[in-house]
């Protein structure tokens, strides 16, 4: 059964490493639904790439072993499967509305614990953190209320417990 999997990859932060990882994924016919990357160890120059992809367990395992073959890849794991990981995403959502719709959007944002980070007389920009599912739900609710623009970071993920990747 195909489902979403979140994969975390630790890589040497060297030029071209992101292109190498992404190129391998697309070159072997997989799709990426979201992607985040940043250096996580400045001293050792290690970056963490997290991406969400669609597939069954076997194809994701194959993808991971292909990734592990890349020279600058130190580790790659399927957070969704291996560790029951925690996934978080941030979104900035712009809603353009006046009157009752504007009030309603503010009320709902409160229920989602979203922050208002910019406002004019006819617009809000909300900042929202949470699981991708929560962000999807928020966007659904904002759609009839004047949703105008969305920017999402993509998923970052980490495993529960004391164990280290």
């Amino acid at each position: 059964m195909e489902s979403k999997h979140t994969v975390s990859v630790l890589v040497d932060n060297e030029p071209g490493v992101l292109a190498r990882v992404i190129g391998l994924i697309s070159g072997r016919g997989y799709n990426i639904e979201s992607l985040t990357v940043a250096e996580v160890d400045a001293e050792a120059h290690i970056s963490r790439i997290t991406f969400v992809t669609l597939g069954n367990e076997t194809t994701i395992n194959k993808m991971i072993s292909q990734l592990q073959k890349l020279v600058p890849v130190k580790k790659a794991i399927n957070i969704t499967l291996d560790k029951q990981g925690i996934e978080r995403e941030m979104a900035l959502v712009k809603v353009v509305a006046t009157g009752e719709k504007r009030v309603e959007s503010l009320r709902l944002s409160d229920a989602f614990r979203a922050k208002v980070i910019d406002t004019t007389h006819d617009s809000f920009v909300f900042e929202l953190n949470g699981s991708p599912v929560k962000i999807d739900a928020f966007i659904d609710l904002m759609t009839p209320l004047g949703l105008s623009e969305i920017s999402r970071t993509g998923v970052v993920a980490i495993a529960r417990g004391s164990e280290k990747l």
Partner: protein, 586 residues
């Protein structure tokens, strides 16, 4: 030398010396002039072989590497220099051949401006190299050079590329010797877990219908692996088959060897693969030419897989025991445990398995109807084999029917003697690869078994052979068709031979003479031996135009989308229907 102040160009040559590189294939151009200038200064012992096209440089480096077990090195310029080399890099990637390609790049400040002869070399070669580097700082160069040789040759070998902007080649920086450089993270695993080996041994002891299926990984692992494989196969008494790339790891004329397997493998090898109860894969990768229809591949067997590349495990075929490691290391531990536990095989069962295999052998699947009037291509290769087998001959091939006949009818008793483009299937490979093999083995007989279509793809390298006095022999199986294309059109497209006939072929004898080589043409079976002998005896490059029966096909054949036990054995059973699903396969 631990460190010194050198220019970038000097560093490249110093690194070659430190890594014992004495042979270089290349073609100069604007962006590599500083390195070529260093070569001209003659302060080093590097022999540079000027090719006529960068694809030739890459294939020559492959032929050199495959025949010698060393890393092949090539030097090309920016832009078209590197794009021309791409086919060779992709070929080396597929067949796991260690290459280091140095490419020149436009100066750093011009990168990204669409400068003359600029291309994104690392971008273009990223998917067809094991790793690549763009050098941005002169002080990174020596580390990158040493890492490149390490990455190319260790683990599953492969091609790497270092792209060096011209300004970096001129700059002076600190060169650090290889002894102090260690790659920060790449450490391929060489030894498999002992528990897994024990598990494999349990399967081997119990096996009633076992088979060894060996591949290019044995050759890549080196001579120790070859000797250990031979020892273990003899200890067990099991039958052994090999992929195209693995030929020569086990003696081709040995009784335990049952021929190549796969699409054009022998009947006995493929039937044994289908019916076995234990399959021991040593350094092969379950390629689609081998497996045929995946869901009907060796359906009743337990599978052991020895491979240094963890991503090969369960990639297309699920296995029961995975031994991730270098073939030599794994076999060494395996044999040790076998001996210390005084293991025995199930001799009576294996004996009756052999009698089954002997029955299949009786089919004589490589048999062909010989002719007194026209030369059959199979006969040509048989004669070539008979007349050269006493010499330590190196054989390269192009790609197509002739390649398969060479694999079927030329028997290899030693590793590294057979050099062919398997994974990528690159027409034009054979001549430059033969040049590379001849460079590595100056006094040996090197033959490129070619087709008349393939040979034209890199024919310009004749000039290289002449210039460097490399007496390669090009044995063209000339049937005037792209034979393998025609064979598929016959089987799959109702004999509509769309553009697979080569009209206006050159006169190969005159072509040879134009280059300054010898040309020989033979059209009658009765004159074949004399012609071949003349070719062998000639001290210089020869193009041998062997005019053969136009209509022969390669058999046996597992048609696309079929299982191992559904082989075609000859033209008479061509009516076997190929499904639409099979037709889309290549």
């Amino acid at each position: 030398m631990v460190s010194a102040q050198l220019t970038g160009a000097e560093m490249v040559l110093q690194a070659f010396e430190d890594h014992k590189v004495d042979t270089l294939f290349g073609y100069p151009g604007g962006a590599v002039l500083p390195i070529y200038d260093e070569l001209a200064k003659g302060k080093n012992s590097i022999h540079h072989y000027l090719v006529r096209h960068e694809q030739g440089a890459a294939h020559a480096a492959e032929g050199y590497a495959r025949s010698s077990g060393k890393v092949g090195v090539l030097l090309v310029t920016s832009g078209p220099g590197v794009t021309n080399a791409v086919t060779g890099l992709a070929d080396a990637m597929m067949d796991s051949i260690p290459l280091v390609c140095i490419s020149g790049q436009v100066p750093s400040h011009l990168i990204g401006t669409d400068a003359f002869q600029e291309c994104d070399a690392v971008g273009i070669t990223r998917p067809c190299t094991k790793h690549n580097w763009l050098v941005k700082d002169i002080n990174d160069l020596s580390r990158i050079l040493h890492e490149a040789f390490y990455v190319a040759a260790s683990g599953r070998p492969g091609p790497v590329l270092i792209d060096i902007p011209k300004d970096i080649q001129f700059q002076t920086g600190t060169y650090i010797g290889p002894e102090t450089i260690k790659h920060k993270s790449y450490r391929p695993k060489l030894k498999a877990s002992i528990d897994n080996i024990n598990e494999a041994l349990k399967l081997i002891v119990k096996a009633q219908k076992p088979i060894f299926y060996t591949g290019g990984g044995v050759i890549n692992s080196g001579n120790a692996a070859v000797q250990l494989l031979r020892e273990f196969v003899r200890l067990t008494g099991f039958p052994i088959t090999s992929t195209l790339q693995g030929l020569g790891a086990f003696p081709g004329d040995d009784d335990q060897f049952i021929g190549m397997l796969g699409m054009h493998g022998t009947y006995e090898a493929n039937m044994a693969m289908h019916d076995c109860d234990l399959l021991i894969n040593v350094g092969a990768r379950f390629d689609d030419r081998i497996t045929g229809k995946v869901d009907e591949f060796s359906p009743n067997s337990k599978k052991i897989h020895i491979d240094i590349d963890p991503s090969s495990i369960n990639k297309t075929i699920d296995v029961d025991v995975a031994l991730v490691g270098d073939v030599a290391h794994v076999l060494e531990d395996t044999i040790k445990l076998w001996k210390s536990n005084v293991y025995k095989t199930d001799k009576p069962a294996v004996k009756s398995w052999w009698s089954m295999i002997d029955k299949w052998k009786e089919k004589d699947s490589l048999g062909f109807n010989d002719s007194k009037t026209t030369i059959k291509p199979q006969f040509a290769i048989q004669r070539l084999y008979e007349l050269t087998k006493e010499k330590d001959t190196y054989v390269t091939t192009e790609v197509g029917q002739h390649q398969m006949w060479a694999a079927q009818f030329y028997k290899f008793n030693k590793p590294n003697r057979w050099i062919t483009s398997g994974g990528l299937g690159t027409m034009g490979f054979g001549l430059p690869a033969a040049i590379g093999a001849q460079v590595a083995h100056r006094d040996k007989l090197v033959i490129d078994i070619a087709g008349e279509a393939s040979i034209l793809m890199c024919i310009q390298e004749m000039s290289t052979a002449i210039q460097h006095k490399l007496p390669v022999k090009i044995f063209i199986i000339n049937n005037q068709y792209m034979g393998m294309v025609r064979q598929w059109q016959e089987l799959l497209h109702d004999k509509r031979y769309s553009h697979s006939y080569t009209d206006a072929l050159p006169d190969f004898v005159k072509l040879a003479e134009a280059y300054g080589a010898k040309g020989i043409r033979v059209q009658k079976p009765s004159e074949l031996d004399k012609g071949i002998q003349e070719m062998i005896d000639y001290d210089g490059p020869v193009i041998f135009d062997c005019v053969v029966d136009e209509n022969e096909n390669v058999y046996p054949m597992i048609p696309s989308g079929k299982a191992h036990n559904e082989m075609l054995l000859g033209d008479e059973n061509e009516d076997s229907e190929i499904s639409d699903e099979g037709k889309v396969l290549v």
